[in-house]
């Protein structure tokens, strides 16, 4: 392994490592615009120039592989001068409209200027005029004057999505990034170009002008949009919620996970968080009396529901009780449900799968047809009908129609996604007690007798298990809306009321109990899941092979 010296620190690195990567390993952050670890290396921006002894010219750190005995200076006079010069060049035609630029605060031009620039401008010429505020796709706005032509967005569309919408046109300082004539930046991953654009050239139509980024707090989490479970950061506005008209979650950004999504996420997932702050949220327990919804306190709701459940079980037995859990729930919600229904109530008709009638979009990159984040978890915890020799969802509905089912506890599902509207309506109308537990109202919740408010994925801690058997953590970013609670808390409370307490105080307690009881989870602990998740027993590392499409 080559040994090299960077700013007088000696380090031994793998052969083939570039100078910029080697420097990173010892905590030296060489500035960069065009270099992105997930894309090919083009060396166009020239901000990462460093001095390598015995080489006459400065070299770009992003492209230069280490060689044994190399001595690199990343911050001497000559390097600083070159960096200042590159910044000056980048800014001569830049509109300097930071006060109205949405990128301000997370702009690499601003940041590097503060760290490496700070020169007196000598530029007095007229700047080159280019297009501003040009919508180039459903999600992306382009300000060509702010573009520093790093080509990251172009390479993303060429190398990652292979959709080739973007190109660089013209020459000299009239060079301009644009979509090809007649094309739109409308691939299913277009939002990533906004993330990797180091400046305010590509901004997010959805997020634009919603809030200044310095008011945002970020909380690591996992996208619930499909069974891939892309790692994300939830950006939420805790400081000035009144500014956003009650919208607490401002945006989702992909979070690097080498084994899952690398640096990326899809647009469906990125913009799929709107229901978190939507008007359709169920914010308090409620019951339907003579067709009208009436709010209840949790105490009353639990009391009433417990009494009714008890009555039905006594009169009709456990066979008349159906439970439809959801792969939208966390492992914790599912496990608490399992204990509540199987142990406390001794019910066997438990299922979670409602096969969508419309097949979800899938590709060979990130997006999966299964639009649930925890199907694998639900299976492994043993919540399929076959596991419990109980009824499948379809059979439950059939039994309901035939008046054999007296109580149905439905979590999160909109049954219309799997069954015909009239079918659902007819079936549910024949069940004495329909309880719906979920985050948002839907056509199923409207058919229930009781609705219980669940906390959404940004309002609770917990874990999902992705398609490859990777258990990953979500974290509470904002408080549960209204009276909503994590699913596991609701089942714990119901269970206690019905005579069996569960000693769970935090999501971690539930997970650790699950890890003790369910084989696939044996040996895992909540404390050790870590930022990139852990694999269930019997699952091999999914990296390179399954993510083959990701590795450029």
């Amino acid at each position: 392994m080559p040994k090299i010296t960077i700013d007088s620190t000696e380090i031994e690195v793998e052969k083939g490592t570039t100078v910029i990567q080697a420097a990173e390993q010892i905590g030296i952050d060489i500035p960069r615009y065009c270099y992105h670890p997930g894309l090919s290396i083009v060396g166009v921006c020239r901000i990462c120039l460093v001095e390598i002894e015995r080489m006459p010219k400065l070299q770009v750190a992003c492209y230069t592989p280490v060689a044994d005995g190399m001595v690199v200076h990343t911050n001497n006079e000559k390097v600083q001068q070159a960096r200042r010069a590159v910044l000056e060049f980048l800014l001569i035609n830049h509109p300097l409209d930071c006060p109205v630029c949405d990128q301000a605060g997370e702009c690499w031009l601003q940041n590097f200027y503060m760290q490496h620039g700070l020169y007196d401008s000598k530029m007095v010429e007229d700047k080159v005029k280019k297009q501003k505020a040009l919508p180039i796709g459903p999600n992306v706005m382009l300000d060509s004057e702010r573009c520093i032509l790093c080509t990251r967005c172009v390479r993303f569309c060429d190398e990652i999505t292979e959709t080739h919408e973007l190109g660089i046109f013209n020459r000299g300082d009239h060079t301009e990034l644009l979509p090809y004539p007649g094309q739109e930046l409308d691939n299913k991953y277009s939002g990533n170009t906004i993330d990797i654009c180091p400046v305010g050239a590509l901004t997010d139509k959805d997020f634009r002008f919603r809030t200044r980024v310095w008011y945002l707090t970020e909380t690591p989490s996992v996208c619930p949009g499909c069974s891939t479970g892309c790692n994300i950061n939830v950006h939420h506005n805790d400081h000035r919620p009144y500014k956003a008209g009650g919208i607490r979650v401002s945006r989702l950004k992909p979070r690097y996970n080498p084994d899952v999504n690398q640096w990326w996420m899809c647009d469906e997932g990125r913009y799929g968080f709107t229901q978190v702050d939507a008007d359709s949220r169920i914010v308090a327990p409620q019951k339907k009396t003579r067709g009208d919804w009436q709010l209840l306190s949790w105490q009353d709701a639990i009391d009433e529901i417990a009494t009714k459940i008890k009555g039905i079980l006594k009169k009709h037995g456990a066979d008349a009780f159906g439970v439809i859990l959801s792969p939208q729930m966390t492992n914790e919600g599912l496990f608490a449900a399992k204990r509540f229904f199987q142990e406390t109530l001794e019910v066997e008709n438990i299922d979670f799968e409602v096969v969508a009638r419309e097949k979800g979009y899938a590709d060979d990159f990130l997006m999966k047809a299964d639009k649930n984040p925890n199907s694998e978890g639900a299976k492994k915890i043993g919540l399929s009908a076959v596991d419990n020799s109980g009824l499948e969802v379809a059979q439950m509905l059939a039994d309901a129609k035939d008046n054999r089912l007296k109580a149905l506890y439905i979590c999160h599902h909109n049954l219309e996604k799997g069954f015909k509207k009239e079918e659902v309506k007819e079936a549910l109308s024949k069940v004495d007690l329909v309880i719906f537990q979920g985050t948002n109202q839907n056509s199923t919740s409207n058919l229930a007798n009781y609705c219980l408010p669940s906390a959404s994925f940004v309002e609770k801690d917990g874990t999902f298990t992705n398609f490859a058997g990777r258990v990953q953590e979500i974290h509470k970013a904002v408080e549960p809306l209204g009276e909503s609670k994590p699913d596991w808390t609701i089942f714990r409370n119901l269970s206690k009321r019905l005579g069996k307490s569960m000693p769970y105080f935090e999501a971690g307690d539930v997970f650790n109990a699950l890890a003790e009881e369910v084989d696939a989870f044996k040996g895992l602990s909540y404390e050790k899941i870590g930022e990139h998740g852990v694999l269930l027993n019997g699952h091999r590392a999914s990296t390179e092979k399954e993510m083959g499409a990701l590795v450029a």
């Binding site: 060396g43 000056e88 060049f89 000598k122 007095v124 032509l149 300082d173």
Partner: protein, 423 residues
């Protein structure tokens, strides 16, 4: 009259046809080569002839050919750079027009030497007549079995393809050329890998200038020494000097490597018009640092010009007499490089445009005292910091014009006008 190799065909009628070329001994060498020479022997002979790359960089041709990996399973390609766009350079056009089959014979020998069975001539888009000539003569060569399968009855196959550029100067830079040849935007590549390892279509490729290859048949025919001895040390043979500007007889002159610049200007190009004095001379295409009258005794070879801080480059000589405004001259050159900067890397893309604007402002009478140093600083910040040498090509004139004619720039800035007579 000194010896001529290529230019003796300039005055022969129909010298571009196979018949006339063969009448003057054409295609004898390749026939011999295919029968008697090994590729290694050819490379050695060309190396010993001190044939330098005549496209601009002057890299020894034989050495370049030796970089082609012997054990690579990939196809090898020869790419002939006929993009000729450096201002002041117009010699390759003459070669194509009058020494068409001499060029082809050079291509055949070089292809044989590097094991290429496909060669591409990448020709400047504006060279429409030359393109037609190439296409028509290539067809004629195919008809006679000089190109295609088993050329000249040997076991060696060679296809020759003409590819037209679309008007970008940068596509003369060999890696931008290869991108363009592959159908992409002409953006220079990062090196390494060098084309000899990974060039066209990810395969080992030699890029040579038209003129470089046109000298190859003569080298093989007459032997390395005879060619080397025509030139100076390490700079073998003759080369075609394009001379333009304020001289009586502009044109292309085939003269020895290392001949004094003064001799070319005064003896061959007839000196200046009206007996004017020289103010400045560009020795090797517009990117080469400019020379003052007291530097024109320099010998025109790669090493001698490098020694005085300039370059032989493409040997495109532009003579400027003392009626020339150096600020305007630099503006014209800078505008060209800005226009032709591919826009890929920051210092060249932004710096060339900035310098052009500053120069324009000075010419318009709105210069500021600090502009002169600022121009040099812009150039300093471009040099050595870019992906390809176009950045340097733009910056070197700025540095040298300002350094050598500083008073003129300062006068312009101070007085808001030019003090050169006739301007």
């Amino acid at each position: 009259m000194s010896e001529k190799i290529i230019s003796k065909f300039f005055d022969i009628e129909d010298s571009h046809t196979i018949e006339i070329y063969e009448k003057h001994g054409g295609y004898e060498t390749i026939r011999k080569v295919l029968k008697q020479w090994t590729p290694e022997q050819i490379i050695e002979e060309v190396s010993n002839a001190n044939l330098r790359g005549l496209g601009g960089a002057g890299f020894p041709a034989g050495r370049k050919w030796s970089f082609i990996p012997k054990d690579s399973p990939k196809p090898k390609y020869l790419v002939i750079n006929a993009d000729e766009s450096e201002p002041g350079t117009f010699k390759d056009r003459y070669v194509i027009d009058h020494y068409t089959h001499g060029l082809f014979e050079g291509i055949m020998i070089a292809s044989y030497a590097i094991g290429a069975h496909k060669a591409f001539i990448y020709i400047r888009g504006e060279y429409i007549r030359q393109t037609e000539r190439l296409v028509e003569q290539i067809e004629a060569a195919y008809e006679k079995g000089y190109l295609g399968k088993g050329i000249f009855g040997s076991k060696f196959d060679l296809d020759l393809i003409v590819h037209r550029g679309a008007g970008a100067y940068i596509c003369g830079e060999e890696t931008a050329l290869l991108e363009s040849l592959e159908g992409k935007k002409g953006w220079p590549r990062m090196k390494p890998p060098f084309p000899a390892i990974e060039g066209a279509f990810h395969s080992p490729t030699i890029v040579n200038n038209v003129e470089t290859l046109a000298y190859v048949p003569t080298i093989i025919k007459n032997g390395a020494d005879s060619f080397a001895n025509l030139g100076s040390e390490r700079n073998g043979g003759l080369r075609l000097y394009s001379i333009s500007g304020h001289v009586k007889n502009p044109g292309v002159y085939e003269l020895p490597m290392g001949i004094p610049l003064r001799e070319i200007i005064y003896e061959h190009a007839g000196g200046l018009e009206n007996g004017n004095g020289i103010k400045a001379v560009i020795p090797g295409g517009s990117s080469s640092p400019i020379l003052t009258p007291n530097e024109i005794d320099v010998n025109m070879d790669f090493d001698s010009l490098a020694a005085i801080g300039s370059m032989l480059g493409s040997a495109g000589i532009i003579v400027m007499d003392d009626s020339t405004c150096m600020v305007r001259a630099l503006y014209v050159v800078t505008r060209f490089y800005h226009h032709e900067s591919c826009g890929q890397c920051t210092p060249c893309r932004e710096g060339t445009g900035w310098a052009e604007k500053v120069l324009k402002r000075i010419l318009d009478g709105a210069g500021r005292p600090e502009d002169v140093d600022n121009l040099v600083e812009i150039a300093d910040n471009i040099i050595g910091n870019t992906i390809c040498p176009l950045g340097d090509a733009a910056a070197l004139p700025i540095q040298s014009y300002v350094k050598k004619f500083r008073e003129e720039f300062e006068y312009h800035v101070r007085e808001g006008k030019c003090d050169v007579k006739g301007q």
